[in-house]
Each structure stands twice: as C-alpha cells, then as structure tokens.
Symmetry: none
DNA sequence: TGCGATCTCCGCCAAAGGGAGGAGGAAGGT
DNA sequence: ACCTTCCTCCTCCCTTTGGCGGAGATCGCA
C-alpha cells in the first residue's frame, strides 16, 4: 500500500530535498508539488492525497490558512506542518487549524519517514520541541475560543497591521462589516484598541507565520 | 577548474536539496557541510573553500556574524547568503558583513548555479528582490538607529498598545508632542499606521520586558 | 557666532477608528 | 416551526489618529 504525498513549499531547494528523502522508501509516491497554500489546496482537491507536507511560510496563501481549508474540504487528507522555525505561535496555530503533525526541517530522514507513515494512519506526530510548546499552551489556555471563524480571519489581517479598508478588500466584504467584526473582537478580547488586539493576536500565534 | 563549496544550513533537508542541485554541474564539489555559523567558520579555515552557501538563520552562531568573520579571516572565500526570508534587515546586514551575494531559497537550480560561478569570480549576485531592498535602504535608511532617544521612548509605549494620551501622561509631555513624535516614527520606519509601528517594534525587540 | 538636531508645543483639518443600535438572511439545532 | 448564532450591512455620533505647517528653547559642534 502506497502513501500518496503532496509537497507544499515555496522553495525549490526544499522540495527537492524532501523528494530525495522520500525516495528512500518505496512506499511513498510524491504525486504533486505546490509553491503556495492556494496551490496546495487545489492539489488536495484534484489528487486527494493521503498526506500533505506543508510549509507554513508561503506566499499567496499561508500554510495555516491552507491547513484549515484542506481539513475542512478534504477530510481524508492529513496535513503535516513542516517548518524551519519553532515558534509557539505557529505550533498552536497549525494544530488548531487541523495539522496532525508539526515537524522541523532539521528532522532526520528516517524520523521524517516514520512520521509520514504514522500521519497517514491518523496518528499525531509532533517533534518533541513542538509537543512541549503545545503542552505549555494548553496548560495556560489563552485562546480566542469565543471568537468566530470570521472574526479570527479579521484578527489575523488586523495583526498584520492592515487597515479596515484593506481587510475589507482582502475578505471581499464591506468596510462596515469589518468594523462590526473589529468591535466584537475588541469586546471579546477585552482590549481598548486595534493595536492592542494586534499585539495580543501576535502573542497567541495569529498573524503572519514568521 | 573546480569550484569547492561549503554548505552551511541547520536543516538537513535544505543541505540535501542543495547538494542535488549542485550535482548537476561537474564543476562543483561540495567539500563540507556545516550546521551552524561556528562550524562554517571552522570549515572555512580548514578547507579554504571558494564559496560558502550560508543560511542566515542558524543556531550557535548566526549567518551574518559568520559571514563577517569568514570575510575577515579567510579573504579568499566568497560567501553567498542563501535564505528563505527576504527581510530588509538581513539583506543589508549580510551585505554589510561582506556577503557577495544574497539569494532566496526559491531560486531555480540553473540560476543558483550561475550565481555560484559568478561569486567564485568575485562578481556580486543579488536576487532582484534583494537588490530592490538594498536600494531602498540606501536611499532611505530606515534603521531604528535613526530614531532619536525620545522617539524610542514613544515607540516603546506605543508598542504596548498605549494611546497618545496615555503616552503623554507616561512621559509627562503634551499630547501634541506625542503626536509629533509618532509622526516622525511612522515616517522614519516607513509604515502607515501606529499598529504597524507597534508590530515592527515588537519584531526588533522593543516593547515590554520580554 | 551660526548651524543643525532635538525636544517641546500649538492649531487646523481630513481620515480612520470605534461605540450603540438596528436589520435582514443563512445555517443549524430544539 | 422556533430559536440561536453568525455574517452581512446600515446609520448616527464621537474620539483618535495622523499630516501639515509653524514656532520657541536647548544643546553641541564647527
């Protein structure tokens, strides 16, 4: 039984390196490569792969957004976040978005292979460091759980320093609607300004993955 | 004539991918691999390679520091910064430290090969994006060093989400004065809003004790 | 002495942000 | 069918932000 894999990373070098690693095991077939989150989502629909190895820092559509959509739209596809930086923010964000694994790019080939096989069977795979971050987060939950999906969309853009008008354009809704969402966010987070909301969002892992 | 290369990157995947790329051209020989800047410096001394491909984000000793030391201690070795993120700060830092090139990891194999050959001959190689950042920097230096002491005071409070009125009270100055400082900060940092300034400040380590 | 940078403050004004409240529609659970 | 939540958009109104020009005071340096 083969495991069909899609690699999503904007760097050709990384894609090449991953393919080399995966060639070691005949069980793996790389069925597609994506250079950004949007392409990854498209390939997920077309190819319905078993596993997507997803970088988090990508243009057009970032990895976390892509993970969320893949999980919602292609529930049979498991996603492993594969990133170079270990940051509390992205670990929590990726897992919350539905990633079954979070691995660092300095993972050794054999460990990577084991993790992909486990993920294909629905088993959670976290690097030890990532697991530690997650535990710390769960123990002191400061999640914007009460925020709705749309509010989180708005907050994510707000945390990039975007103005209401820009957020409206990005989400293809009216500026008034954005203001409504922002008001709700400020109320729910208990902060007094968008700047405070942005800082809070960064702290808990929303915003651009960096 | 062969070009002797050292690869410095903390991620095994990336090193593997780069080696695959370089195998395409018989002129290249990868004589060593380093997992951090300190190792790269050690290898530079021992092997005296023609070119080092240096990641900037590495543990133990970061790439920019390593570039500076390699250039000072092994002047025959040229260094190409090869990084995943395009950030004004690192472009300027790497070039200032003595990098002869600054390439992104999403560079295509053939372009990478051409760049390494050029670098071995002492020719500058910058990705178009990196070149643009450099030009912008030279034209309008936007380092936080250009901020005055008082402006940094204001920025620090701003990065805590404080409003102009609160900043004024904290610094015991008038609100109008705060507005003047904020305007200068926005201008110097090249950002469009206080929220962006706050995020930038956090990124460079300003803000509350952290 | 003059020059330049910095810090302080002022007023004016346009734009953006944010509070309060209402309202329609879609989706899902009872 | 009903209720709730959410998303969407609206109006009215006020505050905050930020751009612009101007200005006096201090300090240090050429």
């Amino acid at each position: 039984m083969t495991i069909r894999i899609v690699i999503a990373d904007d760097h050709a070098v990384v894609r090449q390196g991953l393919k080399m690693f995966l060639l070691d095991d005949p069980e793996f077939v790389v069925v597609g490569e994506a250079q950004n989150g949007a392409e990854a989502l498209k390939l997920a629909h077309e190819l319905n792969p078993d596993v997507i190895l997803m970088d988090l820092l990508m243009p057009v559509m970032d990895g976390i957004t892509a993970i969320g959509r893949v999980r919602r739209e292609c529930p049979d596809t498991e996603v492993i976040a594969l990133t170079s930086v270990l940051e509390d923010a992205s670990v929590v964000g990726a897992v919350r978005a539905g990633a079954i694994g979070y691995l660092l790019k300095d993972t050794q080939a054999d460990e990577l292979i084991r993790s992909i096989k486990a993920a294909a069977n629905g088993q959670v795979q976290l690097s030890p460091q990532a697991a530690a971050r997650l535990v710390r987060e769960v123990r002191a939950p400061e999640s914007p759980e009460s925020l709705t999906e749309r509010e989180i969309d708005v907050l994510r853009l707000l945390a990039q320093g975007k103005a209401n008008k820009e957020i409206a354009q990005a989400l293809v809704i009216g500026e008034n609607t954005v203001k409504t969402h922002v008001s709700s966010i400020l109320l729910k987070l208990g902060v007094q300004s968008r700047t405070q909301a942005a800082l809070y969002a960064r702290q808990i892992g929303l915003g651009p993955v960096d």
